[in-house]
């Protein structure tokens, strides 16, 4: 479970460049993740590795290819000080958990890490770091392997015009 450390404002063009957007298979996308900006990632990333980043991770395009490429590379968790909005939703929708951790600056590239998301902590090099609690409905989507599993259970959407909350 190694840490892949990134800085601030990691955009979706860096995660998966535009020329690979005709691909929809997550394993195939993973072969091009961070191509040109961090080439060792696609070669060396292993199942269960964790991305740790600064502010505004996933800014830019709405391409869902970005969280898919990371999922295909074996990533299950992304820790960042903050996330861009569309990426945040897309990650949850494909079954990848974005976790907000204010102290990611202290976590080093390449170190080993354990994520205890239910307990609200991560442990890196023997030190504990707090992560913000994840709303329960986010787990229900991630655990249904994304929004698709959730949507399958619905006959119709509970639109707020039909039944008042």
């Amino acid at each position: 479970m190694r840490v892949w450390k990134f800085g601030d404002n990691i955009d979706t063009d860096a995660i998966i460049p535009g020329r690979f957007l005709t691909i929809y298979d997550e394993k195939e996308l993973a072969q091009h993740a961070f191509e040109g900006t961090r080439d060792d990632f696609s070669r060396l990333a292993q199942d269960g590795d964790v991305i740790v980043a600064g502010r505004n991770f996933g800014c830019g395009s709405s391409r869902e290819h970005a969280p898919l490429a990371l999922k295909g590379a074996g990533i299950r968790f992304i820790l960042a000080q903050s996330f861009a909005r569309i990426f945040f939703r897309n990650a949850i929708n494909v079954g990848l958990l974005p976790l907000v951790c204010p102290q990611t600056d202290a976590i080093k590239d390449g170190c080993s890490i354990i994520v205890k998301e239910r307990e609200g902590i991560v442990i890196a090099e023997g030190r504990e770091y707090a992560i913000e609690p994840v709303p329960e409905f986010m787990y229900s989507i991630v655990e249904a392997a994304g929004l698709v599993g959730y949507a399958k259970q619905l006959k119709e959407a509970p639109v707020c015009t039909k039944s008042r909350r």
């Binding site: 505004n56 869902e64 929708n93 949507a151 959407a157 008042r164």
Partner: protein
């Protein structure tokens, strides 16, 4: 406590009083899919058990990123989407109309008070029509195609009040680049930016579109301008049966932040590599070598942009050291510049004029940059690798600055040519 325009849109569509922070399953009035994110959205629709879309009349399909098909894979995606459109009775504009956001505006698919989603981050542009419009991913879009609704967290708003008159050859793009530099790439994350003030009131629809288009570059969920007479006139020109109604934030609405800008002394702005919020006055980077100039995109690919570029160009030719690529944002805009004689002038001056599409902005189709090359572009993003090699650089600017620089062969203040 009064409500913001965003809160009013959600309250109106959900028929209950809704405030920022609420998470609601809101009905969607319009949904747009294109050739990049559309195929995956369609797959998700089927995976969710979808058989018929919620309402084919509310769905817009078109291809703009990889057109005409630039690879066999892209062609296959187009075929897949065409088949879906035929099966579901969805109107497909196909490859002929132009860049999705411009087409949505022109064809009357966004109007004040509506909730519109698009599987593209610059969907926030339709805030210029007084709609709440936001970009979503493909899975969310699959859900929308099936159910005609989506979960939203109703955003808080940042009020950006702009006053003053633009100086010579300074305009909306310079304004929004300077606002992005002020607010920062994540300064408006999950919020709406409400543009207001005398300058915004005076700004034409293309200028308002440029501003709302780039709200996402500050992390915003949307940008919006409260509809005024200009908005209603524009929308009525593009959709039948539009009746104006009052829609604006209350004076005592609660905002997450307030910014005010006096633009009387604003200089032409250039966003430097590799972030949109790294805008500087053009003088700071004047003289920078450029290899390619791109005038186009959903941000600045309208008649007014090309008219301004042509005015700067005058009777000169573009520098032979620079590749100048000009791409109108839509067929309508193309026809306007064609009839105005601008295409002839651009081509005679040495530019390559392309058919309406996203062009080099998408970074995957054509007009790509080699390592070490520098592009000056009127589009919206200058991320590393956005227009080709990750070792290339992209600067962003207005059409006036792009044209001036294309004449001299280096980044140039448009007021000095």
């Amino acid at each position: 406590m009064g409500a913001t325009i965003i809160e009013k849109i959600f309250s109106g569509r959900c028929r209950q009083d809704i405030r920022a922070g609420a998470v609601v399953m809101a009905p969607v009035d319009g949904a747009m899919i294109h050739d990049i994110t559309g195929p995956l959205a369609i797959r998700k629709f089927y995976e969710m058990g979808g058989e018929r879309v919620f309402d084919p009349r509310r769905i817009i399909m078109l291809f703009d990123h990889q057109i005409p098909a630039d690879s066999i894979e892209a062609a296959k995606n187009h075929v897949y989407m065409r088949k879906f459109a035929a099966e579901q009775d969805i109107h497909n504009y196909d490859i002929c109309e132009g860049v999705c956001h411009q087409v949505v505006m022109e064809k009357g698919h966004a109007a004040p008070g509506e909730i519109i989603v698009g599987a593209d981050s610059h969907t926030c542009m339709y805030g210029a029509a007084g709609a709440f419009a936001t970009g979503i991913g493909s899975t969310d879009m699959g859900f929308v195609l099936k159910f005609g609704a989506l979960y939203f967290r109703v955003p808080e708003s940042i009020r950006a009040e702009v006053n003053g008159r633009f100086g010579y050859r300074v305009g909306a793009k310079d304004l929004i680049l300077s606002i992005a530099a002020d607010i920062g790439a994540d300064g408006a994350t999950y919020k709406a930016i409400e543009f207001c003030g005398q300058t915004i009131g005076d700004l034409d629809m293309p200028g308002r579109m440029t501003c709302c288009n780039m709200a996402i570059e500050m992390g915003a969920k949307t940008g919006i301008v409260a509809p005024d007479q200009m908005t209603w006139d524009y929308v009525a020109q593009h959709r039948e049966g539009i009746r104006p109604f009052a829609l604006a934030s209350d004076p005592d609405a609660s905002y997450a932040g307030r910014r005010s800008y006096d633009i009387s002394r604003l200089e032409p702005q250039v966003a430097t590599p590799h972030n949109v919020d790294q805008g500087v006055p053009v003088g700071t980077v004047a003289g920078t070598h450029i290899d390619q100039v791109f005038i186009g995109s959903c941000t600045n690919g309208r008649f007014e942009d090309f008219f301004e570029a042509a005015e700067v160009l005058g009777i000169r030719k573009f520098s032979e050291k620079v590749r100048v690529i000009i791409i109108p944002a839509s067929r309508d805009e193309y026809l306007k510049i064609l009839r105005a004689g601008l295409i002839e002038r651009f081509v005679a001056a040495g530019a390559l004029v392309g058919a309406p599409s996203c062009g080099p902005c998408m970074g995957g189709a054509f007009g790509l940059l080699a390592p070490g090359e520098v592009s000056l572009s009127t589009s919206n993003r200058n991320f590393r690798g956005r227009q080709g090699s990750t070792e290339a650089e992209v600067y962003l600017c207005s059409a006036a600055t792009a044209a001036a620089s294309a004449v001299t062969g280096e980044i140039t203040d448009p007021r000095e040519v």
